[in-house]
């Protein structure tokens, strides 16, 4: 691989991968909070609809959905999405469904005594959510969000299939040009791993801050070889269920 190929394909590809990750993470976060909060609504119809969203997008395949947005949507409704936005939409909506389970689980884990204390001080439901329940649930959400963000980063490779020129797309082009596959794919895997590592570092800072914000001791550092994943008691981002670290939630 020459510098020319690297400069003209791979560097812009890295930038596109980062953009797709950031945009779809932002969309997924918004969906996570909205759907996660609605899933604990006192109104059954709201719970039902938000629960249906979760079940449908948990069952859907991100790649099929992306194909549908890219190939079928223009035919069905005449809306032609820019490829990158089709990718962001598919990833954001899918991973947002998993994220809603993180938010719902963390809110459910806030002690009922806290809700009662909020009622005793005459806070409204929205005030309790905003001032008491969400701030307390937030530190619990960070580790599963970390895992989810890594899954999302891995998922961004799919956008190459709908011709978004991300890192994977660039690697395919380079393989095509140079006819050498081993070095470029090895390098590509390493780059994804490095990005996942950076996400974990960043999220650990967020967690440290979040815990300090409610007067808890910061989490252990974990060290360089501590692994990128955090073992979590709440939702698992791959299956959308209780974490793999604890089969059945607990024993």
């Amino acid at each position: 691989m020459t510098w020319g190929l690297w400069e003209s394909y791979m560097l812009p590809g890295i930038w596109i991968t980062i953009q797709v990750t950031v945009y779809s993470a932002a969309l997924a976060a918004a969906v996570s909070f909205v759907v996660g909060i609605l899933r604990s609504s006192p109104l059954w119809i709201v719970r039902f609809l938000s629960g249906a969203y979760f079940e449908i997008f948990r069952g859907a395949s991100a790649l099929v959905f992306m194909f549908w947005l890219f190939f079928a949507l223009p035919i069905a409704f005449g809306w032609q999405l820019v490829p990158m936005w089709a990718g962001v939409l598919a990833l954001g909506l899918t991973y947002g469904a998993y994220g809603s389970e993180v938010v719902r689980g963390a809110l459910a884990a806030v002690s009922p005594a806290q809700r009662e204390a909020g009622i005793a001080l005459s806070f409204t439901r929205m005030q309790r959510l905003r001032r008491i329940e969400l701030p307390q649930a937030w530190p619990e959400m960070v580790p599963p969000f970390n895992n989810l963000a890594i899954e999302l980063l891995k998922g961004t490779a799919l956008v190459s299939v709908i011709s978004v020129a991300d890192m994977t797309f660039a690697a395919n082009l380079i393989r095509f040009t140079t006819n050498e596959s081993a070095p470029i794919y090895t390098l590509l895997l390493v780059m994804y791993f490095v990005l996942a590592f950076l996400i974990t570092r960043g999220m650990r800072l967020v967690e440290r801050k979040a815990k300090a914000g409610i007067g808890q001791a910061p989490p252990p550092g974990g060290g360089l070889l501590g692994g990128l994943r955090r073992r979590t008691k709440t939702a698992d981002p791959v299956t959308g269920t209780a974490g793999a670290g604890t089969p059945g939630g607990n024993q």
Binding site: E116, I119, A120, L121, S122, Q136, I214, G215
Partner: protein, 271 residues
């Protein structure tokens, strides 16, 4: 508030010697088949300190939770300071109250919990100012000024900038008392406020409550197992058994010379 009732004149809480602040009218509460409160009738006059005693499961805590609207009664009406707590009048008929009405009435009631239930995500000062600012619409400076005064009263001024997790149980409970008082409630509910504390921390909390009982005109409804404390602060003691008040009267009478066999048994077991 009408706190001009001389304490010596206190007889029973149902006597009409003060304005009636809390009234339970034929209140029944069931959990499944289990009847916790059975057609309960009692009332508390303004400024009185009433202690509820009785074996566990006799319905004392249920009364506090009903007043806090953490539970709803199955039958009967609860009135607080002339307003129905769980019902409102619409077109001359009593209908179950909406959230807004309930919250308005509930603002007159403050509660201190067994487990303190301070908000761990807020420092001491904000625990106390949060509700006055966002529920009562008090100005931030005014709320902070009030919080400082309350913290001085409970002897915790130097801890104003700490998180609850950095305080001892007794200190947390005193913050919780300040937090409840910051809403200027007419009634203060105390739900076994010392049961979760290490024995050496109990006295500090009880001293604070004694001070409040003797220096303010706030009405108190107390569930406790601290009989000395109950004797000290109560105007009236209500003895509960199986969801009913079986005996009531001033503490001297109930503790020294109860009429009811069940009361004697209960006091004998815990004193």
């Amino acid at each position: 508030m009408s706190a001009d009732t001389p304490r010596e004149n206190a007889t029973t809480s149902t006597a009409a010697d003060g304005r009636e602040l809390i009234r339970f009218d034929k209140v029944t509460k069931r959990f499944g088949d289990h009847v916790v409160l059975d057609q309960l009738e009692f009332s508390v006059s303004a400024g009185k300190h009433v202690t509820l005693i009785g074996p566990s499961g006799s319905g004392k805590t249920t009364i506090l939770r009903l007043l806090m609207t953490l539970l709803r009664p199955d039958e009967g009406v609860i009135t607080v300071d002339g307003d129905h707590l769980t019902h409102e009048e619409k077109g001359g008929r009593l209908v179950p109250a909406g959230e807004k009405h309930t919250r308005e009435v509930r603002k007159k009631i403050g509660m201190v919990f067994q487990q303190f239930n301070l908000f761990p995500n807020m420092k001491v000062l904000r625990n106390i100012t949060e509700a006055p600012v966002h529920v009562l619409g008090m100005g931030k400076d005014e709320a902070e000024q009030q919080a400082r005064e309350l913290l001085e009263k409970v002897g915790l001024t130097e801890h104003i900038d700490k998180y609850p997790s950095q305080l001892s149980g007794g200190q947390q409970q005193r913050v919780a008392i300040a937090r409840a008082l910051a809403m200027s409630p007419k009634v203060l509910l105390l739900d076994e406020v010392t049961s979760a504390l290490d024995p050496e921390l109990v006295a500090g909390v009880l001293d604070v409550l004694r001070d409040i009982a003797h220096t303010t005109d706030i009405t108190m409804l107390v569930v406790t197992h601290e009989m000395n404390f109950a004797r000290d602060i109560s105007d009236d003691v209500l003895m509960f058994n199986e969801g009913k008040v079986i005996e009531s009267g001033p503490p001297e009478k109930i503790f020294n010379d109860p009429d009811h066999e069940r009361t004697r048994e209960f006091l004998g077991a815990i004193l």
